[in-house]
């Protein structure tokens, strides 16, 4: 059993309530931080921990904190990104639903470190019941004196509220999230200025993921150096993985970074192996936007080394033969999956979620969806595969925010690793009429047709 810092108390009955959470040692890090540490001490512990932002981008949290503008004298804000919308990801919901006070505790300590007096948790609108759970937990924390004026008699004031979104993936991008928190459409801002200089209401703002903030209490109680001992040198700590797809035990797992992908998929402690013992075909290891990996690059890297659940091993080989750990949205596909259909599915998602500001993304995601749809439904043309490649290449890097990249990468990776499957769709439209074509006849069984037809 690996070490658990976030979910260790998740099975304690009643841990959702303030009384039980407090009895189990909750809020001890607030006492320690506010009474015995300076804000800079806390920033240093977080820097020492080496924690990389758990929302997906993996930017070091301590470094992000150190960028916040303290010179201007403007009010500062901490905003927790609980917009969790990356397909394949449902870990933050799990934390907030079952142990909401852990996030609130982390928000208090982190706000103190940033010397912020007005902080928000921005939660996606679809998690409406979790929004209500958090509202209730915040009320409990106010009543117990952990929020409000002069917390623990230290003179530190903090107003914490939860803000609910309206159903828009783009609001997970930090500047779109800030726009939405200001009551506007979720259109990402041009950077610079970065939020650390000019964020919410033009004030210096830090935006961190739920899981990142929830790790702070442990770091304060045990030290950043202790945290850094967990995991690998470059991937410190534990990570929540949202496991889904064709596995026996989908769910949220806390892993020590650095265990092998083989162990994660096949051990009973985690995913429990492949559903119905069907063969593994592909893996999206870090949410829909990261490159899909074909079977031969899942357990081993291109160099033949074991593939590990860590930032460095998952991205080993770059986009040519690697992927990214991203948000930890770990989607496993067996041989009944159609990669073309799945890529079309992702493209439909990005087309729907594009905010429409930048033409390459607004138009390009629609073209990707259309072309993929016609290939998947048997109307594809020989040149469509190259057309897809050219569209995705013209979106990537040409937009204000990373949604364009996120839409382009899955298409590029699917063509890179599964080009023969696209060719099969174009050349044998009669074989793919039924949407369950590979359920009835997995691609492995029919791919020989491709070779024959070229003779």
């Amino acid at each position: 059993m690996g070490k658990q810092l976030l979910l260790d108390k998740i099975n304690v009955p009643g841990i959702r309530t303030y009384e039980v959470y407090r009895k189990e040692g909750g809020y001890a890090s607030v006492e320690k931080a506010l009474k015995t540490m300076t804000p800079d001490d806390i920033v240093n512990e977080v820097k020492t921990s080496g924690l990389k932002g758990r929302g997906g981008a993996g930017f070091p949290m301590g470094m992000k904190w150190s960028f916040i503008d303290k010179k201007s004298g403007k009010p500062r804000h901490l905003v927790c990104n609980a917009d969790e919308s990356e397909p394949g990801t449902f870990k933050d919901r799990f934390l907030m639903e079952y142990i909401p006070h852990l996030l609130i505790e982390g928000m208090i300590v982190s706000s103190f470190a940033l010397e912020a007096h007005r902080s928000y948790i921005y939660i996606r609108g679809e998690y409406m019941w979790v929004y209500k759970i958090l509202q209730n937990a915040i009320k409990e924390a106010y009543a117990a004196g952990w929020l409000g004026k002069n917390i623990l008699g230290t003179g530190y004031d903090l107003e914490l509220n939860v803000h609910v979104g309206g159903g828009a993936y783009i609001c997970g991008e930090e500047t779109a999230l800030i726009e939405s928190l200001e009551g506007k459409r979720g259109n990402p801002r041009i950077k610079p200025p970065f939020p650390a200089i000019s964020g919410l209401w033009q004030n210096p703002t830090v935006v961190n993921n739920v899981e990142s903030i929830s790790a702070v209490p442990w770091m304060i109680l045990n030290g950043g150096a202790e945290y850094a001992k967990i995991g690998t040198e470059k991937s410190t700590g534990t990570k929540l993985i949202s496991a889904s797809g064709h596995i026996k035990k989908p769910g949220v797992y806390e892993i020590e970074l650095g265990i092998s992908v083989d162990e994660f998929i096949n051990s009973d402690e985690y995913c429990g192996g492949m559903l119905n013992e069907r063969p593994l075909k592909a893996l999206v290891p870090g949410g829909s936007s990261v490159p899909i990996l074909p079977a031969h690059l899942i357990y081993k890297t291109a160099n033949g080394e074991d593939r590990m659940m860590s930032y460095e091993s998952m991205s080993d080989g770059g986009f040519a033969s690697g992927s990214m750990i991203g948000s930890g949205g770990f989607i496993v596909y067996n041989d009944t999956t159609c990669v073309v259909r799945n890529t079309w599915n992702f493209s439909r998602f990005y087309h729907h979620e594009s905010c429409g500001q930048c033409s390459p993304c607004r138009e390009g995601t629609g073209w990707l969806e259309k072309v993929l749809h016609r290939i998947e439904t048997g109307h594809g043309r020989e040149e469509d595969i190259d057309l897809l490649w050219s569209i995705q290449a013209r979106i990537e890097g040409n937009t204000i925010c990373p949604l364009g990249d996120a839409a382009a990468w899955p298409v590029a990776a699917a063509i890179r690793h599964f080009r023969d499957e696209f060719e099969y769709h174009v050349r044998f439209p009669e074989k793919i009429k039924n949407r369950d074509h590979f359920v009835e006849e997995p691609f492995e069984k029919v791919k020989h047709l491709l070779a024959k037809a070229t003779v």
């Binding site: 919308s85 394949g88 209500k132 803000h163 309206g166 928190l181 200001e182 009551g183 989908p250």
Partner: protein, 181 residues
């Protein structure tokens, strides 16, 4: 928004609703009331049969003290705000990858044919509507749907049958209430 044929909506800003709105406004600095717009729209929509007419949006603008266009542009951007009346029990199936690989398309076909409607058309009695939406964040519990404030997960045809019966019998609570029990 249908500009030629507007559907009438009774506007009822009850004292309870106004108290909630004022509470939400207090979560933001006094000079930033617009920030409360999204949370307020959810509350107002919930209290008005889950949709927002132009007149209701204008009312929200007036209460917050912003221009009507600032409300329209937000309502039209976010998928959770409805600009027309919708079925009371809106079955919003997640259609994204993980749910799709675990059979959501078959379930949507099943539900539509059982209710005798297509996607996005309410049943004649106004009770039900089926929609396909994008990833709801329940990938490990696929296939699933959103119904009101909560999720219905690990769906099967049998569970859909049961759910439809429960909705008809008035046993389904759309709004979640925190209960520690």
């Amino acid at each position: 928004m249908d500009r030629t044929h507007r559907i009438h909506q009774d506007i009822n800003m009850t004292p309870e609703l106004m108290a909630t709105i004022n509470e939400l406004l207090s979560h933001y600095p006094e000079d930033k009331p617009k920030s409360a717009l999204l949370p307020i729209l959810h509350e107002v929509q919930d209290a008005h049969d889950n949709w927002l007419s132009v007149e209701l949006m204008d009312k929200v603008a007036e209460i917050i003290g912003i221009r009507p266009i600032e409300v329209y542009e937000v309502v039209s951007f976010y998928t959770m705000f409805n600009q027309r009346p919708i079925g009371k029990f809106m079955f919003e199936f997640c259609q994204t990858s993980c749910c799709a690989t675990r059979g959501v398309e078959d379930l949507m076909d099943y539900t539509c044919s059982k209710l005798g409607v297509g996607i996005g058309e309410p049943t004649a009695d106004g009770l039900f509507e089926v929609r396909g939406v994008e990833c709801l964040g329940a990938c490990g519990y696929a296939p699933m749907m959103q119904l009101g404030d909560t999720f219905k997960e690990h769906l099967t045809k049998e569970k859909i049958d049961q759910l439809i019966d429960d909705c008809k019998a008035g046993k389904v609570e759309l709004h979640y209430k925190v209960n520690h029990g």
